[in-house]
């Protein structure tokens, strides 16, 4: 049973509706890239609160460290150096799970209850139900889930579902020294973003905007971007992310259809036997051979 304050909206590999009488407020985390100083306090808070320590890596020549998300690093800062209008801009994006309203991971997952979407919008992995197939990786348009080499379970940011359940903000939001990570209801976060956008536009960032991609139904982690028209500047943030049509084909209508087709072949065979009877060796042939033998 999930925490009571976190009602379930969707459950992986489950075809019946979850309990849904209670409506809860949608939450969101807003990452204001224009206010981020790249201090990595969020990375530290994440490992502190979740109590996991990644292996110490090596310097790759840039600030990115660890260089990528891992089963033990659920959020990483990505530092992009971009030249805009003759000036260098250091675009620092805190990467991690976007908590999509339409989560590709959950859609692709074959293990019942391994991926849960709470009514408040948080998408959470329940590792005890995870079978380690990695289908969530193929479902994700943001390349977020990581399969642990140690236990073959999938891991990613939980948006601190345990903290949110008791009315706390995620650890990264709690610790951010500049207020670049905000947490609240999705509506509040959109309002907050609007104010930030007014400020950014007044400072000459005409294309500043909120990143809440509709291709995945919107997300519960949103970004304020100075260059919202080119999200790919921010270490390859996808411009218009959506679940791959291949995943839709694989997980959509085709499978129930194939199941019906397989059942039809099995039943068709049974009824063929019942209606047409078996194909026996003819009596005449058997008699003919018996006569030959008797000679």
């Amino acid at each position: 049973m999930a925490l009571q304050s976190l009602d379930i909206a969707r459950r992986s590999a489950t075809t019946t509706p979850p309990p849904g009488v209670r409506q809860t407020t949608e939450v969101a985390k807003l990452i204001d890239v224009s206010a981020c100083i790249g201090c990595k306090a969020c990375q530290v808070a994440c490992m502190e609160w979740n109590d996991i320590r990644d292996e110490v890596g090596s310097c790759s020549g840039v600030y990115d460290n660890p260089v990528d998300l891992t089963a033990k690093s659920w959020t990483v800062m990505r530092y992009a150096e971009v030249e805009e209008k003759g000036k260098l801009e250091w675009l620092i994006r805190k990467d991690g799970c976007m908590h999509c309203a339409d989560p590709g991971c959950l859609k692709a997952c074959p293990a019942p209850g391994a991926i849960i979407q709470y009514a408040n919008g948080i998408v959470d992995f329940h590792q005890e139900n995870c079978i380690g197939c990695g289908y969530c990786v193929t479902g994700c348009p943001f390349n977020v889930p990581r399969i642990s080499k140690e236990d073959n379970k999938a891991y990613k940011c939980s948006l601190c579902s345990d903290r949110v359940a008791v009315g706390q903000a995620p650890a990264c939001a709690k610790v951010c020294p500049t207020g670049a990570i905000q947490f609240g209801s999705k509506e509040q976060m959109k309002d907050y973003a609007d104010k930030r956008l007014v400020d950014l536009k007044s400072r000459g960032y005409d294309k500043a905007g909120l990143y809440d991609p509709q291709g995945v139904g919107g997300t519960h982690v949103m970004y304020v971007l100075h260059h919202a028209d080119r999200p790919e500047l921010y270490s390859g943030l996808p411009d218009n992310p959506s679940i791959s049509p291949l995943v839709g084909l694989w997980k959509g209508f085709a499978k129930p259809l194939a199941t019906v087709a397989m059942a039809a072949v099995a039943l068709g065979s049974l009824f063929h036997y019942v209606t047409k009877g078996p194909n026996e060796v003819s009596k005449e042939l058997e008699d003919e051979l018996e006569k030959e033998d008797a000679k």
């Binding site: 079978i131 995943v247 065979s269």
Partner: protein
């Protein structure tokens, strides 16, 4: 059943054993694979000790089936070359299914349907092996688009193959006197004369 010394040897012990290894692998693969195919089948994973064990075992059984199928492929490949008579047989398969096989063209060791099944199985195993390797995350790491495509191909080919195998098994049940060929290798002369007259004449010289 008393075995008649005049029965015809259709399969050697090695051929039968090979077929059973493929068949057992296929059943295990079908059951464990369906568990991931649709939530309705997930309980099948319990037959393997739960979802994690099903996920671990499925690809190894797949490799074993591919290898044992290769054995069958090379044993029977030359016997499964399509001829014009086979094509005519296939064109008139409706009569056969309808229960009247008296006017079907004369067939050798295998009829057109069996040969078509052989090549469909060969193509299916090849596709399942390649797409399965793409999906085998415990040991391989391919670009995500290749894995996505692999998942679609694997699921589609597997579903089709399950259908074809059901037809294969049903045909053996429907045509009486056939299954013993896979148990102990022999068939009666009357069976051979009725269903594979060309092969009957070749075996008996009549």
């Amino acid at each position: 059943m008393i075995r008649n010394p005049k029965d015809l040897q259709r399969y050697t012990a090695h051929e039968r054993a090979n077929h059973w290894v493929v068949g057992i692998c296929f059943i295990l693969l079908g059951l464990s694979g369906l568990a991931f195919f649709h939530p309705a089948f997930f309980p099948l994973a319990q037959l393997f000790g739960g979802g994690v064990w099903a996920r671990i075992l499925h690809p190894f059984i797949g490799v074993l089936m591919t290898l044992s199928f290769l054995g069958m492929f090379f044993r029977f490949k030359s016997l499964n070359t399509m001829t014009p008579a086979d094509k005519e047989w296939l064109a008139r398969v409706g009569e056969m299914v309808n229960g009247d096989d008296h006017n079907m063209p004369e067939q050798g060791k295998y009829n057109g349907g069996q040969k078509a099944m052989f090549w469909v199985m060969a193509a299916s195993v090849a596709l399942l092996f390649v797409s399965g390797i793409l999906l085998w995350r415990a040991y391989f790491n391919f670009p995500v688009d290749a894995v996505r495509l692999g998942a679609v191909v694997h699921a589609a080919v597997a579903a089709a193959m399950i259908g074809f195998i059901m037809v294969h098994v049903y045909a053996a049940i429907w045509v009486k006197g056939t299954i013993r060929a896979m148990w102990y290798g022999t068939v009666t002369r009357a069976w051979a004369k009725q269903h594979h007259r060309g092969w009957y004449r070749q075996m008996t010289g009549k």
